[in-house]
Symmetry: C2
Subunit: 443 residues, 2 copies
């Protein structure tokens, strides 16, 4: 009896063409993280349910994959990388030392409603600086967001900044801070539901004049006629919050750093950004692709004042962000984005060594060796099929060149090099000559 | 109430120093796989239990992490990458096309007995060619095993080859093939339990003269005085198997390819290698590190004639191998191995930009930018702590250079560069000059 080969709903196989783009994107991001001195960590996919859920009771509980293992432990698959990181830091901060800059790219699992186009297994990519609370570290995360995208060839994006502390100061100044959680959640919906509906939501929470004040705050600088720069918007927000405070000073520092480093062009101050999560206490980030802002933020994060409160008395402040990898990968294949992005690796190999005689595999391997030593990827065809079939294989795999060599060529230490796009063939050249020709094409 | 931060028995956190070596090793291996035209795939961590276990009943069943999900599906975490790959090929071989060369590096989970020093979560790294059954593809896997290790800086290793088909021909010639499974399992224990105990095991299965014959076969060429080359050993095995057959011809082809490609030095023919699994039908590989053979094979595999029989009527022959990543990583940190291996990335950064004044972060970022553009990794220290504390941070992270610049230096567009090993400091140089000096050190 055969078994029906199938996968679970909400899960995906990655075929080579997709997986190669994903892996190249990961490596590219990782290279950027490393260039900032950020270090990789890893944590188990499976943890004690209690450790992952804490006191629980939230939306997460319903989505988590949990079970009792054969040792009668209640365990669960991680549903994000933040909770395991908090647990990790509580256990290891003394060994690792602070400040600690880390990144983590790994799979997480949530039993989400797949009808929304959501997956139950997906990658997260987080980077954080833990153990510092100052403008310079807030700024470094901002730099890393920008360089991560630029190094992927994405230059047309905008990072929207806001500050939760400043917004809270404003709410406090208006005497409506007891409703702050609900107000934050309503404001967070602005881009999704629009200004009118946000107003409706707010007017259920506060009086009409307070609603107007909130709208004035979150739209500061957004009116087309205003054309304010970041410092001017900040001045307005500061005024609305009852004057200068530590939060406005922090934001001003970050703006100055952006000016000094000539990195301000991709950043705007956008007080409507709040990030719904209660978790954030300071700066918050969201990042939009200018050609396709509608897909939502592809990199979000912010500052939190106590990462591991659930596990340790040690106060661990930090700042970080998370790249939405699935969204980013989807965006990168959109026509509006594709022209600017040029990841390597979309073809499997640079050269196919064709099989003219199966007994020559040892010689073919020797030729392949010489190309691989120069960083050129070489595939070998192992069966003496008709040439047209071998060419089809090369075409399917988008291989640019074929090497054709039979026993005659091997006797004279030569080969024939065929450009598979133009079908031009250069006959009886040495490996060295072929190497030079192929290198010139900038594979 | 705080929660005790802890992880499950048999699971591990990877701290940055370990994770960076693992990731660099993975990237290095991946680069080699790609250089052979092998493509990455990925499959879900969680699958239908029935798909992973088939009819079940084996040792694996007891070790598998299985549960019923919230949609009442019986699911399990994958316990290897072979079964999901078989399922994957049954579903996708028509889309992908054959032959297909793939690699897959990912985590698997087994509830193993942790007392044996085994982990319940670990990485596997498999590479295979599916859709071919010939000597050239057997040979390419052998090349890939060897290049994977050599590109990691490991040159002192030996790949042991054998052929299950030839061994079966021998057993058949001796009229003892009905005991082949038990005989294979006994022979497979040879390196672990030694010759005498293997003989004891065998004599429980067959007559004393047959036991002697088996011993003669599996030790062919191993007597110190014999000093036979591969072809001579093969001749002996062929003779013991009743003369030439397709299996001996296949092995002879592979030996010829190894000679022609000058790759024979790291390979021996070792008929005692059988790989206990019933799965293999042709060539089998095991790979030992010559300085520390005792840790066992670090890369094993072989040819199978029907990968996805459980899921499809399509016959999918293939050949592949699997690198024992945990074992390899452990081996690479052994003193006998360490001197030959030089992976990059053991330090987090090349340069630390020290913080002389927190308001200068924008300028520091501008300097960092110029170094990063040249591929140099730059960490920023964000707080104006005493220099000795900043040096300590650099030392802990094994950072080689510090850049020290206050507002005076920034006014004149200069910086001070300190070598953190010699503590030599070069004062008031430009960024360009510092770049030249640092590049000279071949970071």
């Amino acid at each position: 009896m055969q078994i029906n080969p199938r996968i679970l709903k909400g899960f995906r196989d990655a075929l080579p063409d997709q997986e190669i783009i994903r892996r190249d994107t990961f490596h590219n991001l990782e290279k950027t993280f490393r260039s900032f001195g950020f270090m990789p960590i890893d944590t188990p996919a499976l943890e004690y349910k209690e450790v992952l859920l804490g006191k629980g009771g939230g939306e997460t509980d319903k989505q988590i994959y949990e079970f009792t293992d054969k040792g009668k432990r209640e365990v669960a698959l991680r549903f994000d990388l933040t909770v395991p990181f908090a647990r990790f830091m509580a256990m290891h901060f003394q060994t690792i030392g602070l400040p600690f800059k880390r990144y983590h790219m790994a799979k997480v699992w949530r039993g989400e409603n797949t009808q929304k186009g959501r997956y139950r297994e997906f990658y997260q990519c987080d980077f954080d600086i833990v153990g510092l609370d100052n403008a310079s570290s807030d700024f470094e995360i901002l730099l890393l967001i920008m360089d991560s995208l630029k190094n992927l060839g994405i230059n047309d994006f905008t990072v929207h900044l806001s500050h939760r502390g400043l917004f809270n100061a404003f709410l406090s100044h208006e005497g409506i801070s007891e409703k702050s959680v609900e107000i934050l959640r309503s404001v967070d919906k602005l881009t999704k539901i629009g200004l009118t509906k946000t107003k409706d939501l707010l007017s259920n929470l506060v009086t009409p004049d307070k609603t107007e004040k909130i709208i004035e705050y979150i739209t500061a600088g957004q009116k087309p006629e205003s054309n304010l720069n970041m410092s001017q918007i900040l001045n307005k927000l500061t005024e609305l919050s009852g004057g200068s405070n530590e939060h406005s000073a922090r934001l001003q520092n970050i703006i100055t750093f952006l000016q000094d480093s000539k990195k301000i062009n991709n950043v705007v101050l956008d007080p409507s950004i709040t990030r719904g999560l209660d978790y954030y206490t300071g700066i918050v980030y969201e990042t939009f692709l200018n050609p396709i802002p509608g897909i939502g933020s592809i990199c979000s994060g912010g500052r939190y004042n106590n990462l591991a409160a659930l596990y340790t008395k040690e106060q661990l402040p930090g700042v970080g962000a998370s790249i939405g990898l699935d969204r980013l990968l989807a965006a990168m294949s959109e026509p509006e984005m594709k022209k600017s992005i040029s990841l390597p690796g979309s073809t499997s190999s640079d050269i196919l060594i064709m099989c003219m005689d199966e007994s020559l595999a040892g010689y073919y391997a020797k030729i392949a060796d010489q190309f691989r030593k120069e960083g050129i990827k070489v595939d070998m065809f192992h069966v003496k099929k008709k040439l047209v079939q071998q060419f089809k294989y090369a075409e399917k795999k988008q291989i640019g060149y074929a090497i054709i060599a039979g026993s005659n060529e091997l006797k004279t230490n030569t080969l024939n090099l065929k450009n598979l796009e133009t079908f031009e063939e250069i006959k009886d050249i040495t490996v060295e000559k072929a190497l030079t020709l192929i290198k010139k094409t900038n594979l």
